[in-house]
């Protein structure tokens, strides 16, 4: 039995008065890749944004329920969302390198803003993170160049490197390939395979083939509810719910 890294109990979320999630229960296993699929507007993005309390960064957004990470409730009254996010990193749909920073500065941005000092330490962290994001060989001679000068796929791997630099235990990927070409997408999928040896990965995708390729387990969301959750193979070959079957066979969404 694998260890459970994140346990979500009765998670509800709202944007102002509009409810986006209606009581989600899910158990995410450590050092596995978990995919979240569903049609647009089903709440899958809202769901993973709750996992590191990014949801509440949107004005008017709130959430209720329990999310236990290693048994500790991240919605607890004494919890600082900043520290949650340091443990649970996130990469977004559109690559977002900081435009005023070089490649090197981008990678170490999280460390530096959190007060880490010492050139050797930072250099080492930068190289290690870029290697883990499979970007080191492409950029090692251009570290001083601006991050926005890279190609889209490289920018996204730079963002992954930046997220890895703060040594999170969980990495959330919110449709990380939707703005990328197939070759860059392939590279990121390979990367996910590599990374799940060391950290837990949750990926939101609208691309079912991608979920089938990278995820160990998959959850299907519809209208703010988790319809079905289980081993990826099972979901795609023998879905238990009629609605899941309709979705994966392309009958709606």
């Amino acid at each position: 039995m694998d260890k459970e890294k994140i346990v979500v109990l009765g998670l509800k979320a709202w944007f102002d008065e509009k409810q986006a999630l209606h009581g989600i229960n899910i158990r995410i296993k450590e050092k596995k890749a978990t995919a979240v699929i569903g049609p647009s507007g089903c709440g899958k993005s809202t769901f993973i944004r709750c996992l590191n309390r990014m949801h509440e960064a949107i004005p008017g957004a709130r959430a209720a329920g329990r999310i236990l990470v290693d048994g500790q409730d991240i919605f607890g009254p004494e919890v600082d969302p900043v520290l949650v996010r340091r443990q649970i990193g996130m990469v977004f749909q559109k690559p977002t390198p900081f435009p005023t920073m070089s490649i090197y500065e981008n990678v170490i941005a999280g460390l530096k803003l959190n007060g880490l000092k010492g050139k050797e330490l930072l250099d080492e962290a930068a190289e290690q993170s870029l290697r883990r994001a499979a970007l080191w060989h492409e950029v090692k001679d251009d570290l001083k160049k601006p991050g926005i000068g890279l190609s889209g796929g490289q920018q996204q791997r730079l963002c992954i490197a930046r997220a890895l630099a703060v040594k999170p235990e969980v990495l959330l990927l919110d449709e990380p390939c939707s703005a990328l070409d197939p070759i860059s997408t392939g590279k990121i999928e390979e990367l996910i395979h590599e990374l799940k040896n060391s950290i837990t990965i949750v990926i939101v995708t609208h691309n079912m083939q991608q979920a089938a390729r990278v995820a160990d387990e998959t959850g299907f969301f519809l209208l703010g509810e988790l319809i079905e959750f289980g081993g990826t193979k099972g979901i795609f070959t023998t879905p238990r719910d009629k609605r899941t079957e309709d979705y994966i066979t392309g009958r709606f969404g």
Partner: protein
């Protein structure tokens, strides 16, 4: 790693930013209250008659703001009469007619007019305009016209550019000439914005101080002739505010400032309502 710790930095930061932001309306209110407070003596003594009375003799404590109000409005309206046709024509030329590269240069030149200090306009007015019209209402009007030209031109131009292209194209497709196109399908939807730009120009003219002070002649009389010297609200403040000899004199000066402020706020408010309808709120002017 623990996730439990209160982060005080954010609260501090947000509070500091809010306090600094809130200092703006605070200053705004303080300014109004201080003006009202310091003009209380004049407000109480003269009441509403102050703005209809034209006697002005500080030595005998006789005060009436009418000559200044008259001067301010006549010079400003004179400025509008000259600047609106020119500014609107220039805006139409820039937005609708010109295709040349010269156009960007022209637009920049007109905008640069707005960057030149008022006192330099005044100096130039003394060298070029007063030799023609003397120290008079007319000189002030002409100089103000030049000063508000950039405002009218650039706001009208933005308003014209906000009119959808499809309106022009449908008129052109019917075989309308350029003039007919503009008359029939561009000017009507832009009308309220153009009026807004005119009123914005009026607001600027009313508040303008140094250049007017230097060429208007500074005589507190209401004369039928535009060639006669006159006085304006802003000019009397520039000349006499610091020289107020008695409490009453000072209080009267502050009330004049209050009247000037009330006029400009009112005028700008109306203008912005008209312009915002067309080009949206957040613009820097």
């Amino acid at each position: 790693m623990s996730i439990i710790k209160r982060n005080k930095g954010d609260v501090w930061f947000k509070t500091t930013a809010l306090l600094l932001a809130a200092s703006i309306p605070f200053i705004f209110l303080l300014l109004f209250l201080l003006l009202i407070w310091q003009s209380r003596l004049s407000l109480r003594t003269f009441g509403i008659g102050f703005i209809f009375n034209s006697g002005w003799d500080p030595v005998r404590d006789q005060y009436g703001a009418l000559p200044f109000i008259y001067g301010t409005f006549v010079s400003s309206i004179l400025a509008l009469i000259i600047a609106v046709p020119l500014g609107l024509g220039c805006a139409i030329y820039l937005a609708e007619v010109s295709q040349s590269r010269f156009k960007e240069w022209l637009a920049t030149m007109v905008d640069l007019l707005a960057a030149i200090p008022s006192v330099v306009y005044g100096l130039w007015g003394l060298a070029v305009i007063t030799p023609i019209f003397g120290l008079s209402m007319m000189s002030a009007g002409v100089l103000l016209a030049i000063m508000i030209l950039p405002t009218i031109t650039s706001v009208s131009r933005e308003v014209l550019q906000a009119v959808p292209l499809s309106l022009r194209e449908s008129a052109r497709a019917l075989g309308a000439t350029k003039w007919e196109t503009i008359k029939l399908s561009v000017l009507p939807p832009a009308a309220s914005g153009i009026i807004g730009s005119t009123i914005l120009g009026l607001g600027r003219a009313v508040g303008e101080t140094m250049a007017v002070t230097m060429v208007i002649g500074n005589r507190p009389e209401i004369s039928g002739s535009l060639m006669a010297p006159a006085y304006s609200l802003s000019a009397v403040l520039a000349n006499e505010f610091a020289e107020a000899s008695s409490n009453m004199n000072f209080s009267v000066m502050v009330e004049i400032a209050l009247i000037l402020l009330a006029f400009t706020v009112l005028i700008n408010g109306v203008a912005k309502l008209l312009v915002w309808k067309i080009i949206g709120h957040n613009r820097i002017h």
